[in-house]
């Protein structure tokens, strides 16, 4: 069942040529996504409000093949400060949104949203005839820190409603080869948002994960043409203190065959795992660190015995056995859909087969042994 929402008095952006202005709510929990005026749906499209800038990550988190439209907005005159390695330092008032959607076929099945299907004829918009909106998650930077709020779109896609206790829905994914896969789509509850976004489990302060230099250092097809995202953010006044663009780090695109397997694998593990698996993250209890700058060795999984994996060991003795992907716990856990086995623990119900293949090939080409 979709969520039903009473008929609303929406600001009909992009309808009568009127452009809505985003609103930063310094406190409270607006019940409707429209109250933020970041994105809106009218005239058959989801559009972005004035000053709401879209962005993409080079290698993204896998989320059951959902498509993601990410945006960022800051109040007039404010900007983020560049960091070479960490998430940028965003000013209070920043609102980041991520809208999860799937392209749809005529039978009502959903299609892969991460397969490059065209979902609109106009950049920076989604054509509602071609996609199904699922949810829009907000990260809001308030005085006391970041706050996460999940909004679930209603059936007619006129608005989305705050669902702090989370939400699940079963979707049927039609694959390109004619097969079907069932997605048990989970909208996280507010505490589960912290499960990933509290990247430091000691301070437990929430933080964005994606908007760091290495993930953003790529082009985006803006309405006004393609441009490097960092240069675009500089031009829009959203980012300061950026070094020469040639000196900015760039994450490996996980699908780029011209990049080494090791670089692609570490980039994939960085964005999919390191929000917990870092030296201060929730999974530091495991001693397995998958942040991009973790030095290769037992702490990145090589010949590392599990600590508290339980059934996650799959009968294997080490996270990675060089040259032996099928004896490596990594593959076993990435290849599972079962709650106590699968990694990541949250955010997917499908196996990311292409991701598993990447990690498998990476382990297979490693030299060495564990004895």
């Amino acid at each position: 069942m979709r969520v039903l929402i009473p008929v609303l008095t929406l600001t009909l952006a992009a309808c009568g040529g009127e452009v809505s202005t985003p609103t930063f709510h310094a406190e409270g929990r607006p019940a409707l996504l429209s109250e933020w005026e970041m994105v809106s749906t009218a005239g058959g499209h989801l559009t972005l409000s004035e000053g709401v800038e879209p962005f993409e990550l080079i290698t993204p988190l896998f989320t059951d093949h959902a498509g993601k439209l990410r945006t960022i907005w800051m109040p007039e005159g404010l900007s983020a400060t560049y960091s070479n390695d960490d998430v940028f330092d965003f000013p209070v008032g920043t609102v980041i949104t991520k809208t999860f959607y799937y392209p749809v076929d005529e039978a009502g099945n959903v299609l892969r949203g991460d397969a490059g299907l065209q979902v609109s004829d106009t950049p920076e918009t989604l054509d509602l005839d071609r996609v199904r909106l699922i949810e829009t998650r907000l990260l809001i930077h308030r005085e006391a820190g970041w706050v996460a709020l999940p909004y679930v779109w209603n059936e007619d896609e006129s608005d989305a409603r705050l669902m702090r206790a989370g939400y699940t829905e079963t979707l049927t994914l039609a694959e390109a080869d004619g097969s079907f896969r069932e997605i048990n789509y989970l909208v996280p509850n507010v505490n589960q948002c912290a499960g990933c976004h509290a990247t430091n489990n000691t301070t437990r302060e929430l933080s964005p994960i994606g908007p760091a230099a290495r993930h953003l250092n790529r082009d985006y097809d803006y309405a006004r043409g393609a441009q490097n995202q960092l240069l675009h953010f500089i031009a829009t006044g959203y980012l300061t203190d950026v070094p020469e663009i040639d000196l900015v780090p760039r994450a490996a695109l996980w699908t780029d065959p011209d990049i080494s397997l090791a670089e692609r694998a570490r980039s994939y593990l960085d964005i999919n795992c390191a929000h917990c698996h870092n030296p201060v993250g929730a999974a530091d209890t495991s001693g397995l660190h998958l942040n991009i700058d973790a030095e290769e060795g037992p702490n990145t999984g090589i010949c590392k015995p599990p600590i508290a994996a339980g059934p996650g060991s799959g009968g294997h003795r080490f996270d990675i056995v060089p040259g032996e992907p099928d004896e490596s716990i990594f593959i076993y856990r990435l290849n599972s859909r079962q709650g106590d086995i699968m990694m990541p623990e949250l955010g997917r119900s499908l196996i990311h087969e292409e991701g598993v293949e990447l990690i498998r090939n990476w382990i297979a080409e490693m030299d060495g042994s564990c004895f």
Binding site: N191, Q192, A194, T285, G287, G312, S313, G315, D340, E345
Partner: protein, 409 residues
């Protein structure tokens, strides 16, 4: 450094004895399913000082619960009255995940979770009192790993708890500081009570029985802190002979059935005034991770794999070591002690840090001191391929007493 070991002591076939389970679990067909959203919202909205009371009843959940707010108490009406059942769980890696300080949970049961039952990941001042975690189908490899699982906590009290059926450890305290586990009962788990990479723990007045191993004090490599300073005393540890149903590959899967108290790669451990008896492999085992089949390749450079400064005294040690759950140990038993003989009360794999030795002798301060009536210490000579197993003749010695653990609440 020893580069590898063949690990006859702890690597064993018992891992193959994966139990298929047998009993049927609790019937939750009449359980309350409407409470899930209510409880999730109460956990999200909780403020410091709140008490979330859950009345008697059986409540069914299909996903994990989590609490991120400091200073909250969750209170049921009794560990057999208020039952949170996760038998129908479809998502989440644990039943209740707490990432908060000043947390108390009491008088409640968490049953049949897909993964761990109660996990507290980082926090200070954690009280887990009269909580039962159980897989109601009995010991089964498919059960979740841990029952009660505080990790990276400071000041933790577990008392009056009951943990049954975990496929790893019933009560597991990991990477923590200042811990008391008392007056609790662990039964039919692979490990009954396990203290791992923890600094300062008192484990007393507990009952550990029918587990594969009763009480374990372990250190594992690659973790933020090595543990030391655990006292295990006044416990009843008996008949921990349940076949190992742990997941192959996990550290506890290498624990032989019939292990009473096991100290692995940990330092400064006192085991005294316990009643330890009726263990088929040995009442007390002292070992290194080398015996669990790991080499130096599997550990960070500064990991200390050797158990040091161990003191066994004043325990009442009953029957033990008559039928070890390990082929090589069986052979060794017969060879050294005869067909009807027993492995001595304390079994040591013999791994020791040569760098600490002075004139070929281990200084007393690092030794395994066995001062326990006529109990004997058997060194099975692991470092030399088990070629010269022997009784350690001069094991009697003592160490400075460890301080009592004092909690600030």
């Amino acid at each position: 450094m020893v580069q590898r070991s063949f690990g006859i002591v702890l690597i064993m076939s018992a891992a193959l004895a994966a139990c298929g389970g047998g009993d049927e679990g609790r019937d939750i067909s009449g359980a309350n399913t409407d409470f899930q959203t209510t409880l999730i919202e109460r956990l999200i909205d909780a403020q410091a000082g709140d008490v979330i009371d859950i009345p008697a009843g059986v409540y069914s959940f299909d996903r994990s619960l989590s609490l991120t707010v400091d200073g909250v108490t969750i209170r049921g009406a009794g560990m057999d009255e208020t039952i949170l059942s996760f038998a129908n769980q479809t998502s989440g890696a644990e039943g209740l995940l707490v990432t908060a300080s000043n947390f108390t949970i009491e008088d409640i049961a968490i049953e049949d979770t897909r993964g761990d039952a109660l996990k507290v990941n980082e926090g200070e001042n954690i009280i887990i009192r009269r909580v039962r975690t159980e897989w109601t189908n009995g010991p089964d490899t498919n059960n979740g790993a841990y029952g009660i699982y505080p990790v990276q906590t400071t000041n933790t009290l577990i008392e009056g708890a009951v943990a049954i059926g975990a496929s790893d450890a019933g009560i597991y305290v990991g990477q923590s500081r200042n811990v008391i586990v008392r007056d609790s009962r662990a039964e039919y788990n692979v490990a009954g009570i396990e203290i791992e990479n923890t600094i300062g723990a008192d484990v007393y007045n507990n009952v550990a029985t029918n587990n594969t191993g009763g009480i374990l004090v372990f250190n594992m490599p690659n973790l933020p802190q090595p543990g030391y300073g655990t006292r295990v005393y006044n416990n009843e540890v008996f008949e921990n002979n349940t076949g190992n149903f742990g997941h192959p590959g996990t550290p506890v899967a290498s624990v032989p059935a019939g292990s009473g108290v096991v100290i692995n790669s940990n330092d400064q451990v006192e085991v005294f005034n316990n009643d330890i008896r009726d263990h088929r492999t040995a009442n007390i085992i002292i070992s290194s991770v080398y015996s669990a089949g790991y080499s130096d390749l599997s550990a960070q450079d500064d990991f200390d794999p050797y158990p040091e400064t161990i003191w066994i005294s004043g325990n009442t040690l009953g029957e033990g070591g008559g039928n070890p759950d390990n082929v090589e140990l069986q052979a060794l038993r017969v060879m050294m002690f005869g067909l009807t003989g027993n492995i001595p009360d304390v079994l040591w794999d013999g791994f020791a840090n040569a760098d600490l030795m002075v004139d070929g002798e281990m200084p007393t301060q690092y030794r395994i001191c066995l001062d326990n009536g006529d109990a004997q210490l058997l060194n099975v000579d692991g470092p030399n391929g088990y070629s010269d197993p022997h009784i350690v003749e001069d094991a009697a010695c003592s160490h400075d007493r460890l301080a009592e653990i004092v909690l600030p609440f």
